[in-house]
């Protein structure tokens, strides 16, 4: 399975990434797609920007491991994990997950698995910058841990 894994500051183009995943193949029956975007508020406070940092030497390796786990669970024909870093504005896309399979259920389930694990298993950290100039690191959410953990159950 081909896995596209990228960390970048520049925006990504969803249709370009879809086209790259499909290019030259006719065995794919469906592609799941998740795009995470920056909300304009956090805890009732308006935000001006979201700043993302990561651990460059580790990030791509962690993302490849996550893709490998998805490949081991589902019959995937390809996937893409693209994560942006740097300062992003509300409405901008942060993360893209694509998962291709011969059948829709595997594609959709793998997409859900990949974003759940990307949130809990890849070294990225978000900081919210509020309209008044204050900023705060986003705390890890217990329900994100639970969302990732549900894939471990029977």
């Amino acid at each position: 399975m081909d896995a596209t894994v990228r960390v970048q500051t520049a925006p990504f183009d969803v249709s370009e990434e879809l086209a790259a995943l499909i290019a030259g193949r006719t065995d794919i029956g469906g592609i799941g797609c998740f795009v995470g975007t920056v909300r304009d508020h956090a805890g009732g406070r308006p935000i001006r920007a979201m700043s993302l940092e990561h651990y460059p030497a580790m990030t791509e390796r962690a993302m490849r491991q996550i893709a490998e786990q998805a490949r081991a669970r589902w019959s995937l024909l390809g996937c893409a994990l693209i994560h942006r870093v740097g300062e992003l504005r509300p409405g901008e896309a942060i993360v893209l997950v694509l998962a291709a399979s011969a059948h829709r259920q595997a594609a959709l389930d793998a997409t859900s698995f990949l974003i759940d694990w990307l949130k809990t298993g890849a070294p990225f950290w978000k900081k919210e910058v509020f309209l008044d100039g204050e900023s705060a690191w986003v705390a890890a959410r217990a329900d994100d841990e639970q969302a990732a953990a549900r894939w471990l159950g029977p």
Binding site: G36, A57, V95, A122, K126, W137
Partner: protein, 86 residues
């Protein structure tokens, strides 16, 4: 004595006041837990950074590692809060 490269991310970086440092740790420092104890004693900024022990995660040589993970000379050890990507 073992030479280690220590990296800090997110609020740990801000509290320590550095994104990385090279340290020489004494022979008794053999695990991640030993290392956090030793680093905490380096000064008030380190002590403040490592005070919230339960909110700190670690990676040894770019792989997630628990408090009992062994460390050895030449290792790259990173400390950070629980990840919040996606």
């Amino acid at each position: 004595m073992a030479r280690l490269r220590i990296l800090y991310f997110a609020w740990l970086r801000e509290r320590v006041g550095a994104s990385e440092e090279e340290v020489e740790v004494p022979d008794g420092v053999a695990t991640v837990a030993d290392l956090t104890g030793w680093l905490s004693a380096r000064g008030p900024r380190h002590a403040a950074a490592f005070a919230a022990t339960r909110a700190i995660r670690c990676a040894v040589n770019q792989a997630f590692a628990g408090p009992q993970a062994p460390i050895a000379a030449g290792d790259e050890v990173a400390f950070f809060p629980p990840v919040t990507g996606g």
